[in-house]
């Protein structure tokens, strides 16, 4: 593990609840995530498991109310993000942490040219004159692989393809050379070949600028491709975390195992795909005990009542399932 001086983002026991007319929806319920400098951390899980809410809370982008930060802390390079004023947050957002959103079609403004939009963050955070700004925009667009950038910077979003728009989003995120980029499913809407290009691009830029990347996705293929550390989330909780190779070769939570089993591959041809029965519980009606127990294939009777503790497998690999932990310990002892 890296020494603590490299620790860039530390989310501790974060709880985000949504208060409305009905019962309180506990979208994020005690999540701990650590991101070190130069690292790629992937957060995996199905829709509704709290991945995006965690990211939005980190950036102070949640609308409060309805959202309520019910507990926990977020420290970014020594700054306490949850206690900052909106103007202090604005200083950090866009310059030291930036975000790439899922839908490039909806997150780009259709009435401004892409050059203007890439330049916007720099005008807000850096003192640059017009020539320097233009030079930097062209440099950024070239960096993300947009050919003929000095002409294309005058284009409007509708003149670009989906992949190009996502590249523009990345250029915007990179504009102030942030320490951390949070990417929320940036390639979900794209073709495999374009996805491969974007992933390669993020990897290369990350190395060049020693940035950290927090990558949110439900695609385990992508996770295997880029992750150093993986966090698997289910129903507002981290159920398994660890180095990527440990998660893929030795998953120790039934949910992670089920996700891996449900992927169609050519090796599984002719066999029936494993599909997790039921669906993700609504955050307001979470089952007692282990939140995964109604869908779990290795459930024991105590899973219905006892909240599972994190079990440590060493090297930072931890999983919230005592059943599989005991099973492995039993094998080891015998």
């Amino acid at each position: 593990m890296n020494p603590d001086s490299d620790l860039l983002l530390s989310i501790k026991d974060l709880k985000v609840h949504f208060v409305g007319d009905g019962p309180v929806a506990k979208a994020v319920d005690g999540v701990c995530v650590q991101v070190h400098r130069g690292q790629t951390v992937c957060i995996v899980g199905e829709s509704g498991c709290g991945k995006t809410v965690t990211a939005l809370a980190t950036l102070g982008l949640l609308k409060q109310p309805p959202a309520v930060i019910a507990g926990g802390s977020i420290a970014f390079d020594g700054l306490k993000m949850l206690e900052m004023t909106p103007s202090q947050l604005r200083e950090v957002r866009g310059s030291r942490i930036s975000m790439i959103f899922q839908e490039p079609m909806t997150s780009l403004n259709p009435v401004f040219t892409i050059g203007d939009q890439v330049a916007e963050a720099m005008t807000a955070h850096k003192q640059l004159n017009e020539d320097q700004l233009k030079k930097r925009v062209i440099e950024l667009l070239t960096d993300v692989g947009i050919v003929d950038a000095d002409h294309r910077m005058g284009d409007y979003p509708h003149q670009l393809s989906g992949g190009q728009r996502q590249r523009v989003m990345i250029a915007m995120a990179l504009a102030c050379e942030p320490d951390l980029i949070i990417a929320d499913e940036p390639t979900t809407a794209l073709d495999v070949t374009v996805q491969a290009q974007i992933l390669a691009l993020l990897k290369a830029l990350k190395q060049k600028k020693n940035m950290a990347l927090q990558y949110i996705t439900h695609d385990l293929g992508v996770v295997a491709a880029i992750a150093d550390q993986v966090y698997v989330m289910y129903a507002g909780l981290v159920v398994e975390q660890g180095p990527a190779h440990a998660i893929f070769s030795n998953a120790r939570h039934p949910y992670t195992l089920a996700l891996l089993d449900s992927l169609p591959t050519k090796e599984k041809r002719g066999k029936r795909l494993y599909s997790i029965p039921g669906s993700v519980p609504h955050p307001a009606y979470r089952p007692v005990g282990c939140p995964f127990h109604p869908r779990c294939s290795s459930k024991r009777s105590f899973c219905e009542t006892d909240f599972p503790a994190m079990c440590d497998y060493g090297e930072g690999h931890r999983a919230r399932c005592p059943v599989l932990f005991d099973a492995q310990a039993g094998e080891g002892g015998a």
Binding site: A200, R269, I276
Partner: protein
Amino acid sequence: MNKAEKGLLRVEGLKKYFPVRRGFFQRVASHVKAVDGVDFSISSNQTLGLVGESGCGKSTVARLILRLLPPDGGSVRFDGQDITAMTERTFKPMRKRIQMIFQDPYSSLNPRMTVAQSIRDGVRMAGIKDKTKQRDRVGQLLEMVGMPAVSAGRYPHEFSGGQRQRVGIARALSVSPQLILCDEPISALDVSIQAQIINLLKDLQQALGLSYLFISHDLNVVSYICDHVCVMFRGRIVESAPADLLFEKPLHPYTLKLLDAVPETAVVGWSPRIDGTEKQTQAEYGCAFGSQCPDVEEFCKKAPAPMVDVGGGHLVRCWKAAETHRTF
């Protein structure tokens, strides 16, 4: 490829050009060749995969088969009859035998109609006039796709994406079709839900003897579900082979590029062999893939490559690949 008589659906030389209009008088300046001579056939109880990037014309092919768009050339034969030559009146009964499942379960269901109403339209079209029988059939269809009977009276917004896709499938089944065109049916869904829908499609195929045209850009899914795969590039099929053959021994450089781009869970720390810059300039190449091909030769510029059979039902549209891999 299959013998002509055997194929349930046979597509030959299918073409669709969209005009590009320019200038004050909106003169036709050029054409976008969305589908440019596509041939394939699907026999009954078979799944044919159509793979390619967005804009390669795969969805247009589905629309042409269903006559949602008029073709500019070629023929579509369903069960021996040429659909393209039919009048709308004679085609109407055929449409019951070919149905479609769309990508986006959110926008393909009418938000103001209950699930039962959406499905009942199809049931009525299938010739069931009696109201009680219609209701029974709707219940039966919902059960087939694994939805509880109480869901009949609910509206689409009350369901999750996976459930909505099940309703879409039930609606397609309501007229008892033989062929279902699936246009990216699972790409909008979560991983665990994808597995459920894939299993459902496979079960229905076995129970009802359906044929599928499975359009997707996800090669993992295609390798799992399809019997035969066609890879499309710029309106043309560049490689066509039985699924196991295609994934074991891909020949066309474009297929290789696609396969390379798929991140696999088996390989931690994968890196694609794809360069980051986009080359969109279409040079004076004969072969459409020439400008992006890593091992392009001088003769590739001369003429477009023909489809060559390299044995075992494996066809490839590449001079070099065909030359080096011919098995007879």
